[in-house]
Every structure is written in C-alpha cells, then in structure tokens.
Amino acid sequence: MATDHRPQDGWLHTSIGRLAQLKQAVSGDPKAIFGLGVVTVFLLAAILAPELAPHDPMAQEFGIMDPPRIVGIDAHPLGTDSYGRDLLSRIMFGARISLGVSLGAVSLGALVGVSLGLLAGYSGGWIDDLLMRFVDVTWAFPWLLVAIMLVAIFGQSVWNVVFAIAFAYIDDFARITRSEVLSIREEEYIAAAKNIGVSDRDIMLNEVLPNAVAPLIVQFTVLVARAMLAESTLSFLGVGVKPTTPTWGALLGQGRGLIEQAWWISIIPGILIVITVLGINLFGDSLRDAFDVQQGESV
C-alpha cells in the first residue's frame, strides 16, 4: 500500500541541497570565504556596472591623467587615464567584458571538450582514437597563433578572444572527461544500467556524466581565472578587443608607457587581475571540497 511520501523530484531541490553543502564547505575556512567574497564582488560589479559606475567609461571629458582623489566634486577614486576617462568606471565596465569573455570562452571550450571526451571515452575503439587525435591537434596548435589569425581575418573584436581562448581549452576538458569516463564505464552500476535496458545515450548523459562532473567543475573555475589572464594578455598585445574597449588587460596595456607619470592606469587594473584570479582559484578549491564532502560521507 502506497504512503503519501513522495521523493522530491527536480533540479530545484537538488540545487538547494548543493548550495547548503557549499555553505558548509566554505564556512570556517578563511581562504574559501575570501575566494567567495572576491567572486561575489566581481560578479556584482560586472552585473551592476551601468548602475554603479560613477561615469560613462567612454567619456573623455575629465582631466587628463588625474591622480586618484577620493573626495571633491571632480573626485575620481582611481584617477583618469591619458584620454581623460574615469578609471573606476572603465574598470567596472571592464569587469563585465572580462567576465563575459572568460565565462563565454570557458563554457564554449567545456561544451565542445566535454562532448568530445564523453563520446570518445564511452565509445572506445576507433571513435575514441579519431576524436582524441582531433583533440591532440587543438592542443598542439598554439592559441596565440589562432588569436592572431582570427584578428587578421575578422579584425579586432571580443569574439576573436572568446573563440581563441575556447580553442585552447578544448583539450583540457576533453582529456579530463575522457579519463573519468574510462573509469566510470567499468563501474558495476553502468553494467546494471545496461542490464535494465537503458540506451547508450541515456547512460552517457544520466549515469556517466553526473559522476564525471566533480573534477570538471573545478577545472572550469580554474580555467575561468586563466581565461581572464589570457584575455588580458591578448588585449595587452593588441591582438584582442578593439582599443577603446576597457578590458582589464587593455587597460594594463594602455598604461604601460605611462608608468612613471601615471602609475595608476596600469598598476590598479593589474592588482585587480591578481586578486580576482586568486579569488576564483580559491573559490574553485572550495567547490571541489563541497563535492568531496558529499562523496566522502560513509555509513
């Protein structure tokens, strides 16, 4: 006779559960709190830039190369650059672009890489060989070169950066996924799923992938940090976004020649890049711990 108890279906319930686990993993650990804090601030700045930024990032009306001044009518907390643009606003808007580019690039790389790795690892045989050789090619091809090629063909734009960086990360995701899948494939519960009659596609997506996800999530956060640096590099070299776009790397590049006169133009974005990358890495660590907490439970 059935009772009234029904198990909670759905992703909402699971997500709430995961958040609770994350909170448990983070609390008490200063590194994790720092990481979470940094990521939160970064996200807020990026999302709310239009509302919070004191000035239009493109407006060139202000004093040229004004040093940072907190108070006063013409206050620019982080100074202005050589075109007279407010640095704080440029940095906040820059955060949006950096966020968008990093997340976008890593997501794209993950989508392609995980799919390839999943298919290769699960199928084995010639499919595995073929796909992994393709992945080897992407790995061997220098991403900087790809970026330059794209710029040469399409001119400077944000999308070049996204594609170039995504291209660089495909092999990371593919290899990790494949190696996880190779070991999960041999697990007894996969044989049990086959025994029930579950289709291969269903097994790949619902039985194998959820169990492979833990290292992928950590890799994701690590690569977002790296993507930020990569984007900074490209912009710094002038192979990335258009010169006026205020990404942090671009800001770094623009201030390079003016270090002696107006140190704030390069140094402040540089410091922010370091803090943000560090914060994202630490956040990734605590995410990994959150997953381990769940898996580490034993009767």
Partner: protein, 372 residues
C-alpha cells in the same frame, strides 16, 4: 514450493530442439578474454586469452532454481553475465524461450531486458552513487514504460515495503544504507519489472550470517510468489544448498558435475565436488574431517591443464587417461538425472573405493611418458 519433474534429464536430448519446458538452453558456450591488446599481437594472432568459460552446456527449466558453484577462477560469474547478455559470448549459443539471443545487438536485446534480470554481487557498486535509491529502482519502469507515469512511485514504495525497507529510504543515497539494505534495493530494482528469469550473482556473500538468512528467505519468497526461474551463483555451498533445486559445479571454465542438490551433497561423484563438500568449515560434529586437503595449485586460465583440467590436483587420479583425454559430461548408468565429467564414470564404484592414487613422482613419470 513445487519441484519440477525430475524424471528425465533434458540434457540427454539432441541439442537442436529445445523442449517446451526448457526455458534457457545454453550450448557450447564459450567466453574468452584477450589479455594483450597490442596491435602487433593482434595482427599475428598470438594473443594470450583467458579462457573464462570453455564449452558449457546448460539447461534451465521454467520455475526451477539452479545454483552454479565454483571457486574463484571457475568462470561462474562470467557464465552468468554472458547468459544475461551483459557480454557477448565468443562462441556457442544461448536460447531463451526458444529464441537465439547470443548475437543480438543491444537495441534488439531491449525487450529481453524486461524478462531477464541480474542482481549484482556488490550492491553498493551496482548503484549509481549520484542517484537516490528510489530513482534507481524507478528507472526500469521508465525505461520499459510500464504502468502510468503518475503511479510509478507507488509501485516503488510498495515494493520497498515488501522487502522490508521503509518509504523514507527512497531519498537515501546508496552509501547511506547498510549492506543488507543495499542488497534489498538491488533486488527491488531487478524485480520491479516482474522479470521471468533472475540471475543472482553471489547475492549474500557480502553480508553477515543473520542478514544472509533474511535475504535468502526473501529470495525464496519472491521465487514462490512471482513464479520466477532463478540462477544463483555462489561459492558458498551453504547458500545454494538451501535455495536451489539443482546444482551445477564448475571448475576452470567447465562444468564437472550437475544434478539435484540433495543428491549432489549426499553423494558427490566428481572428485572436485567431493573436495568442495568436505572442505566447508562446518559446525556439525560428524563432518568427515579425515579428507585429504587439495593442493593449492589453482589452474591457469590462460593455459589450463590438458585432458581433465582437475588432474594435477585430483586425489583420485587414475592414469594417463586423465592427462590425455578430456572426460565428457554424461549421465551415469544408475542415475539419469546426474551428469559427471570424470573418467571414473566408466569404472565401477568398487574399483574406486579400493583405488590408491599415484604419488606426485609417479604422476610426473606418467606425464613424461605421455609427452614422449
């Protein structure tokens, strides 16, 4: 529990035509595993292969419970997994309810998956650690589209309660349950789609004695209520003794003896079966402990002994025949229901009683003579 009619051994019939009572019919089933997958050895054909199952004939009638016993390396698990089509056989045929299933593709096997189910040996590793046990048990219903989606949870809950789990266990993850509970979940998952044939791979070996008794009672009960045909793999003779109608004894990938459970225990005919029966540590006072223990020379699966595979360890070794020719599995003169693969079958029991097996050195001499 009704016992099937034992009057005639169906194995004596020609292998081509299955009788209606033969539910599962396996002929010359062979499963080899390659050891070395390098390109060169594949090309040269010089691969070493593990001969896990080597030419097995087996029949299972509807409604009966057959036990397959053997030690590690006997091939019993591989045999079970191949019959359940978790693997494809290297050679031989498997007939299920009259139809050949040995070469069917995965998609063609799907309707079969509803009729043949498998309970795995280690219940924890057979459950997806990321899914609640309720979800895992419900999955077969979704895959085979059984019943109304709305009432599938009801089925899961009621089956849980029947096996002694509570409905609050539905939301638990496998690692949160005890070994006994995990095994009950495994049984639920197999039975929820009401299969006809259930294969249990060492169903209780990971459990404590008192739990073993509970699970065995459960298996017995379901077998009665659902009229299941069961195949039980075990290395523990106490388990099969209690649950099975007929037993099949395996050694080094081959069947060495088969017959009704009680007869096999009362009068084991194959020397290996005798050794097994006498080796069980037992709490009974009258178990024959003067039996000579077997040597520990377990047979290599890659290069098994010639002739009778048991001959290097056999305490009843006769002569060169044992090394030279493989004894075939046949019925004995006095008992149509029992089959033994041993050269003693052709000799009188009288001679057997008075036989002294040759010593190690004498055997070495015999072997040497045969080689030259």
């Amino acid at each position: 529990m009704s016992r099937p009619d034992n009057s005639q051994s169906t194995d004596a019939r020609p292998a081509s035509e299955p009788t209606p009572a033969e539910f599962v019919s396996v002929a010359n089933l062979t499963k080899y595993f390659s050891v070395d997958s390098g390109l060169l050895s594949r090309a040269l054909g010089s691969q070493e292969r593990v001969k896990a199952v080597d030419g097995v004939d087996l029949t299972i009638r509807r409604g009966e419970t057959v036990g397959i016993i053997g030690e590690s390396g006997s091939g019993k698990s591989t045999l079970a997994r191949t019959i359940a089509r978790l693997q494809e056989p290297t050679d031989g045929s498997i007939r299920f309810d009259g139809e050949h299933i040995e070469t069917r593709s995965e998609s063609a096997l799907k309707p079969l998956r509803r009729r043949i189910q498998y309970v795995f040996q280690d219940p924890l590793s057979a459950l997806n650690p990321r899914k609640t046990v309720g979800e895992s048990v419900r999955k077969p219903l979704d895959v085979h589209d059984i019943g109304d989606p709305g009432e599938r949870w009801d089925r899961v809950v009621s089956l849980f309660e029947e096996v002694g789990l509570s409905s609050s266990d539905l939301d638990s993850y496998p690692h949160e349950l005890s070994g006994g509970q995990q095994q009950r979940v495994g049984i639920c998952r197999a039975l929820i789609i009401e299969p006809e044939l259930v294969i249990f791979d060492e169903p209780v070996s990971a459990l404590d004695v008192t739990l073993q008794a509970q699970i065995l009672n459960l298996i017995n009960r379901f077998q009665r209520e659902l009229e299941l045909t069961c195949l039980i793999i075990s290395h523990d003779l106490d388990v099969v003794r209690h649950v099975c109608d007929r037993l099949v004894v395996m050694y080094a990938g081959e069947i060495v003896e088969k017959g009704p459970t009680r007869d096999l225990f009362a009068d084991p005919r194959h020397p290996y079966t005798r050794a097994l029966v006498h080796a069980i540590p037992s709490i009974e006072e009258d178990s024959a402990r003067d039996y000579e223990p077997l040597s520990e020379e377990t047979p290599s699966a890659i290069d098994p002994p010639s002739g009778c595979r048991f001959h290097p360890r056999c305490p009843e070794f006769i002569d060169g025949n044992c090394i030279n020719s493989k004894p075939s599995l046949k019925t004995t003169q006095d008992d149509n229901d029992r089959m033994v693969a041993c050269h003693w079958r052709e000799r009188s029991q009288e001679r057997r009683k008075n036989h002294t097996p040759p010593s190690e050195s004498e055997r070495a001499v015999i072997k040497h003579e045969l080689d030259t």
